[in-house]
C-alpha cells in the first residue's frame, strides 16, 4: 500500500470512528427517550409523568385478568416481577394477549396509580415452536417460557432474527 493510500485509509477510519463515538454518545444521552415504554418498577418510583400519554410494558401477571361479562372492560396487572401496575382498558385485545404474555399498554397514568389504557399491544418472545411441541412440553410439566430460559443460559444473543 502506498503511503498516500495508507494515509487516506486512516483518515477515513478515523472519521468513521469519530462519527460512531458521536452517535454512541447521543444514543446514550437519549436512552430514556428511546426506550419504548416504562417498566412497572419505574412507574412505582415515580419516573413516569401523570396524566400524559405514555407507554408502559411488562408481563401480564398470571391470574389477574378480570373481564367484565357485560362490556368490553377488562382489568389486569402488568408486572416486571419487581413492581406491579394495575391497568384498566375498554376495547378489543390483540389475539396474542394472554396471561404471562408481554404487553405494551398506551395510555395515561392516573393519580390513583392505576393506568388507563387506550391501546393494548401484545409483545411476543423470540421463541417459536409447533403446537404439538408446546403441548408436549406442557404435559411434561414445562412452560414454553422454560424453553426460552434454557436458550438464554446457553449464551448471550448476538445475531439478528
Amino acid at each position: 500500500m502506498t503511503p498516500k493510500r495508507k494515509q487516506k485509509l486512516f483518515i477515513i477510519l478515523g472519521l468513521v470512528s469519530l462519527a460512531a463515538v458521536a452517535v454512541g454518545l447521543t444514543l446514550y444521552a437519549l436512552r430514556s427517550n428511546i426506550n419504548l415504554f416504562f417498566s412497572p418498577v419505574e412507574i412505582a418510583q415515580g419516573d413516569a409523568p401523570l396524566e400524559r400519554q405514555i407507554r408502559a410494558g411488562g408481563m401480564v401477571k398470571e391470574g389477574t385478568v378480570a373481564r367484565d361479562p357485560e362490556s368490553l372492560n377488562v382489568e389486569f396487572t402488568v408486572t416486571d416481577y419487581v413492581g406491579d401496575l394495575e391497568v384498566y382498558f375498554s376495547g378489543i385485545l390483540p389475539d396474542l394477549f394472554r396471561e404471562g404474555q408481554g404487553v405494551v399498554v398506551v395510555g395515561e397514568l392516573q393519580e390513583s396509580g392505576r393506568f388507563r389504557a387506550d391501546q393494548v399491544l401484545a409483545r411476543h418472545d423470540e421463541n417459536y415452536m409447533p403446537p404439538e411441541v408446546a403441548e408436549a412440553l406442557e404435559e411434561a410439566g414445562y412452560q414454553p417460557s422454560d424453553f426460552k430460559d434454557q436458550g438464554n443460559m446457553a449464551g448471550p444473543r448476538t445475531t439478528d432474527g
Partner: protein, 246 residues
C-alpha cells in the same frame, strides 16, 4: 489469491470472470428460494401462539438480513473505491444501493403486515423499527447523493462517504432490541447458542436466507456487468465486444 483480487479490479477481467460465476449463483438462488418458499409456506409447522401468520418470517428475516448485508457491502465497496481508486468497486456500490433499499422496504412492509395480527399495530416508533426506517432513508440518501452531482466522480465520492458513515446504523439496528425496551422481540438466532425454534422451522428459513444471498450476488454481478459496459462504452475492448456480438 491476491492476483485474483487485483484482476477483479480491472473492469475487463471482472466482466470475463463474472460471466462464468453468474449462472451458478442464479441457479443456486432459484433452487434455494423455490425450495425454501414451498417448504416454509406449506410444510413447516405453524407456531403454537401465532399460527400461520408466523410464516411471514420466511420473507421478513431474509429481507432484513440482506438489507443490512447489502449496506455493509456497499460501504466496503465505497472504502475500496476511496482508498484504492478501484472503479469496479464504485460500480458495484452503485448497483447495490437500489437492491438494498428494496430489501429494506420488503423487511419494513412484511414486518408491518406481521405486526397487525401479532402486536395489534402495524407501526410503533420503537428502536428496531425506527433504526430500520433510518436505514431506508440512508439508502435513498446514497442514491440521491450520487445523482446530485454533475461529475460522476464527485457523486461517487459523496455516496461512498455517506455509505461509510451510515454503516454506524447497522450495529444500532442489530443491538437495538438488547439495548432498549422495544416492541420487537429479541433475536431468535445467535452464533453462540442454539436457535429458539426447532429445526423443522429454522431449516427452511436458513435455505431462504442462503437463497436471498445467492440472489443478491447474482443480481450484483449482472448489474455490475451492465454498469461496466455503460461506463466503459468508449473503451476499445467494449467496442470490440459489441462488434463481435453483432
Amino acid at each position: 489469491m491476491w492476483a485474483f483480487i487485483h484482476k477483479l479490479g480491472s473492469p475487463k477481467w471482472f466482466y470475463t470472470i463474472s460471466a462464468k460465476l453468474q449462472p451458478w449463483f442464479w441457479a443456486a438462488a432459484a433452487a434455494l428460494i423455490v425450495t425454501g418458499t414451498v417448504w416454509g409456506l406449506a410444510f413447516a409447522p405453524a407456531d403454537y401462539q401465532q399460527g400461520n401468520s408466523f410464516r411471514i418470517i420466511y420473507i421478513h428475516v431474509p429481507a432484513a438480513f440482506l438489507a443490512q448485508s447489502a449496506f455493509v457491502s456497499m460501504a466496503a465497496a465505497g472504502l475500496v473505491f476511496m482508498v484504492w481508486k478501484i472503479k469496479v468497486a464504485d460500480m458495484a456500490a452503485t448497483v447495490i444501493a437500489p437492491f438494498g433499499a428494496a430489501m429494506t422496504f420488503v423487511a419494513l412492509f412484511s414486518g408491518a403486515v406481521w405486526g397487525v395480527p401479532t402486536w395489534g399495530t402495524w407501526w410503533m416508533w420503537d428502536a428496531r423499527l425506527t433504526s430500520m426506517l433510518i436505514l431506508l432513508f440512508l439508502y435513498l440518501g446514497v442514491i440521491a447523493l450520487r445523482g446530485a452531482f454533475s461529475s460522476r466522480d464527485s457523486g461517487a465520492r459523496a455516496a461512498s462517504v455517506l455509505a461509510m458513515v451510515g454503516v454506524i446504523n447497522i450495529p444500532v439496528i442489530k443491538y437495538s432490541v438488547d439495548w432498549w425496551y422495544t416492541l420487537h422481540q429479541p433475536a431468535t438466532f445467535s452464533v453462540t447458542s442454539s436457535p429458539a425454534m426447532p429445526m423443522s422451522m429454522w431449516l427452511p428459513l436458513l435455505i431462504m436466507v442462503l437463497g436471498f444471498y445467492s440472489f443478491f450476488t447474482a443480481l450484483t454481478l449482472m448489474r455490475t456487468r451492465s454498469e461496466i459496459l455503460r461506463r466503459e462504452s468508449r473503451k476499445r475492448w467494449v467496442r470490440e465486444l459489441v462488434r463481435e456480438t453483432r
